[in-house]
Symmetry: C2
Subunit: 235 residues, 2 copies
């Protein structure tokens, strides 16, 4: 088992003896780890109910460092993380959510509207850490590689980093909630970030008040999970 | 520590005694697990060089089931996984890549073009498993929740699932490569999937020929990694 402090070796030539040598040093993820990783995936939730406990700033720095080890197209590292502590900025984001959540509610009718009205869709009032995550289309890295035919790979790279952060947070007992009921341009304005940056996610982070394996929207009767076999096609 | 076979309990009321009861049953991810998770994130790579070894079909089913535990906006589960085995369809995807990779090369000049020409950007000729992943904008689940102001949340949900699959694959010793140098509409045509589905990724999956902690594009001198501190802003 490779120890973390040794991870800076590299640059391996591609002949078989060298490859075997490298394989000896790479980590083997045994069945115990694989089962716990499976539990991690099962217990990751979109968290909207947070304890008041503060989160150590070093934890957040480490989470962001882990997220930055995610793949990005052409290694362009387009992720821009903005930690939002300013109370007025936080209030502007809450207002943004309240407005567009009311608009969303108005688009449903009858039972579905009643159900929507009862949902808790964000933890903006209580989350001790709030992290806006953007994609920078003018990222100075990567020389444009890999995004001529699919320019959206830029945004997708940021999403992958967020998913890594989400799982990494859960290993530390932290919960993450992704708020998408926001006008993204108003978020850019409120946080005073470049207009060219594209909002990917506004994340609420903190210690969760509850732990569940099933999505809140399933418990609330909004939408249950479907058998994965329904999503697999063969050609 | 909760065992996996017991994960089907849930539906917990929100009073403190019950919450405490649940907390006792949720998994605690200890420092040993957290370190190994960190190693997992560090050793995940975009893999373009595969061994000829076949992959057990059950492994792929399990990977997709794990991916389907990822978050999706409104729990709309928009992911559609297409396992591509047909040799003519695989050849069409290879041709698609070859054409648009040549076009990308032509857009660079001088040293950068020479460097680009030497890069290996896909493992399409050798990957034993090939998996096209789409987002279905007409997904019958989720009732549109959470994507009025940010409709791209549909695609982002699929990307999160792919990142989960990527890490889960690595726990099993499998490597994944994401090919984005493709005309996405031609992929839909070649694979005979609905024109409304949106290609998110064409994944090559198999046992990697090499293991590294640094991205191939860094080793090749195309683009190195940047200190994560450069990506963190405070407000």
């Amino acid at each position: 088992m490779m120890t973390l402090s040794k991870l800076d070796f590299t640059h391996v030539k591609r002949d078989d003896a060298e490859v075997d040598m490298v394989h000896e040093q790479t980590p083997f993820f045994d069945p115990v780890f694989r089962d716990k990783f499976d539990a991690l995936v099962q217990w990751r939730r979109d968290v909207r109910r947070f304890k008041a406990d503060l989160v150590d700033a070093a934890e957040i720095d480490q989470l962001i460092a882990q997220a930055c080890l995610s793949p990005s197209v052409g290694n362009c590292q387009p992720w821009r993380f903005v930690l939002v502590n300013d109370p007025e900025m936080r209030a502007a984001v809450r207002d943004n959510f309240a407005h567009f959540n009311a608009e969303a509610l108005a688009a449903y009718s009858n039972n579905r509207a009643a159900l929507y009205a009862r949902l808790k869709l964000a933890g903006l009032e209580a989350a001790p850490v709030q992290l806006a995550v953007f994609a920078d289309p003018n990222t100075p890295y990567g020389h444009g590689l890999g995004r001529r035919t699919m320019p959206e790979m830029l945004q997708y790279s940021v999403v992958g980093a967020i998913q890594t952060l989400w799982l990494a947070a859960r290993t530390r007992g932290l919960g993450v909630g992704w708020v998408s009921i926001l006008d993204p341009e108003l978020v850019n304005e409120a946080l005073d970030v470049p207009a060219t940056w594209r909002l990917i996610a506004y994340l609420c982070v903190g210690y969760p008040l509850e732990e569940h394996t099933d999505p809140e929207l399933q418990r609330a009767g909004w939408q249950g999970r479907v058998d994965p076999a329904a999503f697999l096609f063969r050609r």
